[in-house]
């Protein structure tokens, strides 16, 4: 067996690379393969014979050094695991029910059979994690974790040694469902990619430890319990107190006791863990150091002895470490992780969708495979090496011992060969320089348009966003405009030039968008710039084979060894072909370096208003029904936690402890000093307590039917929710139907109905109290996101309430005039929204950092989050429906560069408990001419950014100011354009073609609910519209600002789209003006979250009959909200078109059929922004106004 030899290599490499960061390896030489144990058991079902450790195949000779590298790589994570976690995370070890995988391993690895396990070690160990994961499944399909999807496979990590040794279990979730959630189509790849990670992280376990463990065996189940508890934060003493204090426990609830030692945290009952079941804990307690191992054992003993105390102590520690330091540490999280990762090397295996066919099922041919697995690996070597460059061969033959990566590519011959694939920066700029001289696109974008003369400016179809003027290769890999968009697709060189253009510079992001194709990369080393921490991306330049230059800070970095291997082409030495370099949107599976604490489980808490008002509105029934239907679709894994809390003037908790015969309600009436009645059974494991949850949801709507309580203690309920969730973090969904009237955070009505249509400016757009803001910041610190559903027909001071979501990165939903019977459209919308809300992807404990090229700096942020430091956004929850905007200024001249890049990196914990990093990179050309700046203006992005700025302005200053600023933005930019091209016609409003819609969009903005004056607008409606502007992605926002109008009574197949043998007609877009409407037609207006079908008085009866299903115009009911499914061709076409429109958004839009009569008209006609209203100008008047301003 080649083990010892490798061991030496391994340990030496390890030390040299990792410095002192590998405590667990100090005993390394003596115990060659410490990490093996768990992993071996993990894969125990695979035949061991598959890995005969035949040494000395030719590849290994050539590649000795190399392999040691890989070897080392696979070793690395274990040290990192313990090192990274400051908090003792014992609890989570118990949190996994994962005994199963271990159970299967029992025969081979249990019984302290040293020889067998030792035998396994080399095999397993040598697997470079990622590759192993990727390819292994194909060769041993039966061992795939996928085969038991619901079950998390986990491998506990040894706590190493130290005092606050974090007992992180590394949980790998075979995620068949997860993959779909991430938008990756390749679930199998995904899941298969994961096990290796856990393998790598597996705790080192040596023979002695094993013995020790076994000695401990019987006690381990018991030790599991405290760990649970510490996670769930049980304060037993408080429980007792509560029982005393919790006064009114409703009779109809069984008043049973909560047992202190409960398994609520997702673990299987201790009893179920037989001797085999001991494995995970044993993994947890083992360590390379035999003596520390014993210490661990002692610790366990301690736990067993006084489980309650120790667990609560653990909780306290855990809690404090995660809470008080969370802010600082989390952010270092990313950084620290990166630091260590930059000094390590590892194997990389991208798991991108499109690579499936390429990768096939075999092992990666080149060097990566495990040294102890030569038989498997040898053939691939044979294949791949011949295909390598001659230079490589030479190098390797001349220096057989040296790492090919170091030597092989240095021969001068190489440079010539590779100069093409590695365009140096100078080459790039040369290419770009050439490009800027051929501005065919620009000419069109710069064509002066006289807005007053040219009427029909609106393009008949949606135009794509302007493309940056880049070389084709860069264009191909650039980030999708749906995800990442800049207001100026050509970045001006200096701030002075930007000021000359008078256009705002900023970015609009939609970073967590649902994607259909996303390369996911599992790699030991996430390659990042050493100084600015930028992730490697398609726009870096490779100076030579071994070095790359960061495109943001221009530092020259080394290319790590493993990055040299390209899993796509399965060849070595082509770093530029790696998926990171080929895609500007990638997702990394982050190692434990990127964790502050073990990834949290998905945790959902629902806070429900059950006051009289709420019962009247009847939302509870709809909510419970929706949740019941979607209970199984909630994103999460077996650890998923769920809890409920209702409130009126008191706060009701629900004990959903597994084992209770029915849910038990605990009432806390002391709202001035809220406490949690019992800590371990209010937030319960969904899987275990599903029956109880279902029972509660069925009973809940009936429970409060006769309530007379009209008060609402929202503030205290939120405080309770915060306390309940702070140990884990997660999502709190608050349903509120009225103004909070009791306890902390109570609010008073501030709206004066007489001021609703005032033109003078609107008061009370800001919050009335800082209570909700403070609470939101607390929540953000504890990784709790608060989503607010406001279903109120009266004024509820959304301006104050919204703060709780704004700063905790939640979302806000508002259903004015919600009533379950009287307002079926709202009810339907609520239902559909809930469905999307409950099932959409979610990321927990996220942070997003936006970096930009040196010289640019971000100075203002828009969206729902807390800006923790200059470029770091703290997002307790991140959801796929929220967008962000930032404003950028140019601090230093960009004259010495031709490309400006922006990178947004979103680090989050998936609902499956995986830490992931999604990286988007956008690259834009830098220009020095004002005309180029105008040519590259993206009018939609500019409009959205201006809207965000205007909302800030209206809150901090006044609405009038904000409106003036918007008009000035148009005037300024058009005058700047005019001043630039002074030779053009002197009369009229001249705009470059790229900005021809700018005045129209700004006028539309001025007529939005958020910013309009003169038209009666309820304060809450206005504030909600403002919140929407701040948090919606660009596409959705543009639809709200400038709805799409189509005529649909004469849909034809001309120019129709053909998708999956479905014909989707594409009627032309119409201008938003009543002159485009005719009485003979039927028109569809798509406002994003609402769609109106306006039917003219003289609309053809054929259409009414064939599409609407009514004989004539008169018989159309006034509150029609659906189109019937008729078998006629026109009906099919209409429905195809409608559903095609609906698919383009994530939330289901309300649909109204409006007849041409005055009662329904206002809702429709208010969106016709080009028309004059009693309080606002028409488009033409607006243009004249602008012309006047420009001339002055």
């Amino acid at each position: 067996m080649s083990a010892p030899g490798y061991t030496n290599l391994n340990s030496s490499v390890n030390y040299s690379l990792n410095g002192g960061a590998t405590p667990s390896y100090q005993n390394g030489p003596g115990q060659p393969y410490p990490a093996m144990y768990p992993s071996s058991s993990y894969y125990s079902s695979t035949p061991q014979q598959a890995y005969p450790a035949a040494p000395g195949h030719k590849a290994s000779v050539v590649n000795n050094d190399h392999m040691s590298n890989y070897y080392h790589n696979s070793n690395q994570p274990p040290p990192a695991g313990p090192g990274s976690g400051p908090s003792p995370y014992g609890p989570s070890s118990t949190s996994h029910p994962p005994t199963q995988p271990y159970g299967t391993t029992a025969p081979s690895s249990s019984g302290a059979s040293q020889p067998p396990s030792a035998f396994q070690h080399p095999a397993l160990y040598s697997m470079p994690t990622a590759y192993y994961g990727q390819h292994y499944p194909t060769s041993h399909p039966q061992s795939l974790p996928l085969s038991q999807p619901p079950q998390p496979n986990l491998v506990s990590v040894s706590s190493g040694t130290s005092m606050n040794a974090p007992l992180y279990p590394i949980v790998s979730y075979p995620s068949a469902p997860g993959s779909s959630q991430y938008g990756t189509l390749r679930s199998s790849q995904m899941s298969s990619g994961q096990p290796p990670v856990s393998t790598v992280m597996a705790p080192p376990s040596s023979g002695t430890e094993q013995q020790f463990v076994q000695g401990n065996g019987s006690s381990i189940p018991a030790s599991v319990t405290p760990a649970h508890q510490s996670y769930a934060d049980p304060l037993l003493s408080q429980t007792a107190a509560v029982n005393g204090q919790a006064n009114a426990v409703p009779q109809h609830y069984e008043h049973s006791l909560h047992t202190p030692m409960t398994q609520h945290y997702g673990g299987p009952p201790p009893t179920s863990q037989g001797p085999d079941g001991d494995r995970p804990p044993s993994g947890t307690s083992t360590s390379v150091h035999s003596s520390p191992g014993h210490q661990q054992g002692l610790q366990y003993g301690g736990y067993i002895a006084n489980s309650g105390v120790s667990s609560s102590a653990a909780t306290a520690r855990d809690h404090s470490s995660s809470s008080s330091d969370a802010d600082e540490e989390d952010e270092e999280d990313e950084e620290a992780g990166a630091d260590s990762s930059s000094s390590t090397t590892g194997s990389a295996s991208p798991v991108p969708n499109s690579y499936e066919s390429l990768e096939g099922g075999s092992y990666p041919d080149s060097s990566i495979p495990p040294p102890a697995d030569p038989s498997k690996r040898a053939p691939p070597f044979g294949y791949s090496y011949p295909s390598m460059q001659p230079g490589y061969q030479q190098g390797s033959s001349s220096r057989p011992d040296s790492s090919p990566s170091h030597r092989g590519y240095n021969p001068p011959g190489y440079q010539a060969q590779y100069s093409q694939p590695f365009p140096s920066l100078s080459q790039l700029s040369a290419a770009l320089g050439g490009l800027s001289g051929v501005p065919e696109l620009e000419v069109d974008a710069l064509r002066p348009v006289n807005l007053i003369q040219e009427r029909n400016l609106l393009p008949p179809t949606h135009t794509a966003s302007p493309e940056p003027n880049l070389s084709t290769e860069l264009k191909k890999v650039n980030c999708s405009p749906d995800t990442f968009r800049c207001t100026l697709t050509s970045i001006p060189q200096t701030q002075a030039l930007l000021n000359k253009a008078r256009l705002p510079l900023g970015l609009l992001l939609h970073p967590f968008r649902d994607l259909t194709q996303l390369p996911v990369i599992t790699s030991n080393t996430i390659v990042r710039c050493r100084s600015c921490r930028t992730y490697i991306n398609p726009f870096v330049s490779f100076l030579d084979q071994r070095r790359w230059k960061c495109n943001l800070c221009y530092r020259v970095n080394d290319v790590p060894d493993e990055f040299m291997y390209n899993p796509v082409t399965r060849s070595y030495g082509e770093p530029h072909k790696r998926p990171e370099i080929q895609n500007s949107t990638v997702e990394f599976i982050a190692s434990s370096d990127y964790m502050l604490r073990p990834p949290q489980p998905a945790a959902y808490l629902f806070v429900l208003d059950v006051s009289h008002n709420a019962i009247e509105a009847g939302y509870l029934n709809v909510f419970c029904q929706s949740l019941l239907e979607n209970l199984d679709k909630l994103p999460g894994d077996t650890r998923t936690k769920i809890g409920f809390l209702t409130f009126d003037s008191t706060i009701h908790f629900y004990n959903l402890q597994e084992g209770l015969s029915q849910p038990q309600m605990l009432v806390v009436s002391d709202i001035d000093d809220v406490f949690i009645p019992t800590h371990d059974s209010l937030l319960v494991n969904l899987k275990e307590s599903k029956e109880l949850v279902k029972e509660l949801l069925t009973a809940l709507p009936r429970m409060f039917t006769n309530t007379r309580e009209t008060h609402s203690a929202l503030g205290p309920a939120l405080q309770a929710a915060f306390k309940l969730m702070s140990p884990t973090g997660g999502r709190v969904s608050v349903f509120q139907t009225q103004l909070p009237t009791l306890g902390a955070g109570l609010l008073h009505s501030r709206e004066d109905p007489n001021q609703r249509s005032s033109t003078k400016g609107v008061q009370h757009l800001g919050p009335a109290t800082d209570f909700y803001k403070k609470l939101a910041l607390d929540c953000s610190g504890q990784q709790i996101g608060v989503d607010l559903f406001l279903l109120s027909s009266q004024y509820s001071d959304l301006a104050s309430l919204a703060c709780v979501s704004k700063y905790s990165a939640g979302s806000i939903f508002y259903y004015p005039t919600f009533h379950h019977i009287h307002n079926p459209a709202q009810r339907q919308k609520f239902q559909k929204d809930l469905q999307r809300y409950l099932t959409r992807k979610i990321g927990f404990e996220a942070v997003m950092r936006i970096r930009c090229t040196k010289g640019l700096s971000i100075h203002t942020f828009h969206g729902n989050f807390f800006v923790r430091s200059t470029d770091l956004l703290s997002l307790a929850n991140v959801n796929p429906d929220s967008g962000f905007a930032v404003q950028v200024s140019i601090e230093e001249s960009l004259a010495d560069t031709s490309l400006a890049c922006f990178q947004a990196a979103l680090l989050y914990t998936s609902s499956k408990g995986k830490r992931r990093i999604r990286v988007h990179t956008l690259c834009l050309p830098v220009v020095s001419q004002l005309s180029d700046v105008f040519a590259g203006a993206d009018v939609e992005a500019i409009t959205c950014l201006l809207a965000n700025m205007a909302i800030d302005r209206s809150i901090s200053s006044s609405l009038t100011d904000a409106r003036d600023a918007l008009v000035n933005a148009v005037v300024d930019s058009l005058s700047a354009y005019r001043a630039n091209g002074s030779s053009l016609q002197p009369v009229g409003v001249i705009a470059p073609a790229s900005l021809r819609l700018f005045p129209l969009y700004v006028l539309a903005l001025l007529k939005q609910k958020a910013l309009r004056t003169g038209t009666s607008t309820r304060l809450d409606d206005r504030v909600f519209a403002m919140c929407e502007f701040k948090s919606q992605p660009l596409k959705h926002m543009m639809r709200m600002v400038h709805p799409d109008l189509y005529r649909i009574d004469n849909l034809s197949e001309q120019g129709a789209l053909h998708l999956n043998d479905c014909v989707i007609p594409q009627p032309p877009l119409l201008q938003l003006s009543a002159e485009k409407l005719t009485r003979e037609g039927a028109f569809l207006m798509d406002c994003g979250s609402v769609m109106y079908l306006w039917v003219g008085k003289c609309c053809s009866e054929i259409f009414i009959r064939d599409v609407l299903g009514y004989p004539n115009y008169a018989s159309i009911p006034p509150n029609m909200t659906e189109i019937p499914e008729l078998e006629t061709q026109s009906s099919q076409r209409t429905r195809a078109f409608l559903s095609w429109l609906q698919e383009s958004r994530t939330f289901f839009p309300c649909f109204y059929v409006l007849k041409d009569d005055p009662s329904t008209k206002t809702s429709f006609f208010q969106h016709l922004v080009e028309d004059r209203t009693e309080s606002a100008q028409s488009y033409y008047e607006f243009l004249l106004h602008i012309q006047q301003q420009i001339c002055h």
């Binding site: 952010e331 800001g766 803001k773 610190g781 704004k806 203002t860 800006v867 430091s869 901090s956």
Partner: protein
């Protein structure tokens, strides 16, 4: 009497100088990411009122001791402090709001303000020192 007034203002001025330095240090910590916005703002907000009081004290002392020039010198700063404190919107957590401080260059303007105040207090310090010595000699 005169000397006592200036000794008192000198002490007050020292305190204000220390406070201004503390503001600058804390803000630059935030700029460099050493502390987060929340911690920074709660630290600073605690000292907004003491600063306001200290400045007001110096102003009032000068008014009562009838040193018109120094009074007029101090008045704008004192009224700026009061204005700044009063104009804080209801929903904000104080003059320094963690959710706003990174927006619209607020951090920079706070920094600038602290710098200007530091300069002003240093100037005052020397004026007080000079006046005190003068008063002591005259006595």
């Amino acid at each position: 009497m005169e000397a006592a007034v200036f000794i008192l203002s000198l002490i007050d001025c020292c305190a204000l100088i220390f406070l201004a330095v503390y503001f600058i240090i804390t803000l630059s910590d935030l700029e460099c990411d050493y502390i987060n916005a929340r911690a920074c703002c709660s630290k600073l907000n605690k000292w907004v009122i003491p600063e306001l009081v200290g400045q007001a004290l110096a102003t009032v002392l000068m008014l009562f001791s009838l040193h018109w020039f120094i009074f007029l010198l101090n008045l704008p700063v004192a009224s700026w402090n009061v204005y700044r404190y009063l104009k804080v919107p209801m929903g904000n957590m104080g003059v320094f709001d963690p959710t706003e401080i990174h927006n619209r260059g607020q951090l920079k303007s706070h920094m600038k303000e602290a710098m200007i105040k530091l300069g002003f207090h240093l100037l005052c310090f020397f004026i007080y020192l000079y006046s005190m010595i003068l008063a002591l000699i005259n006595d």
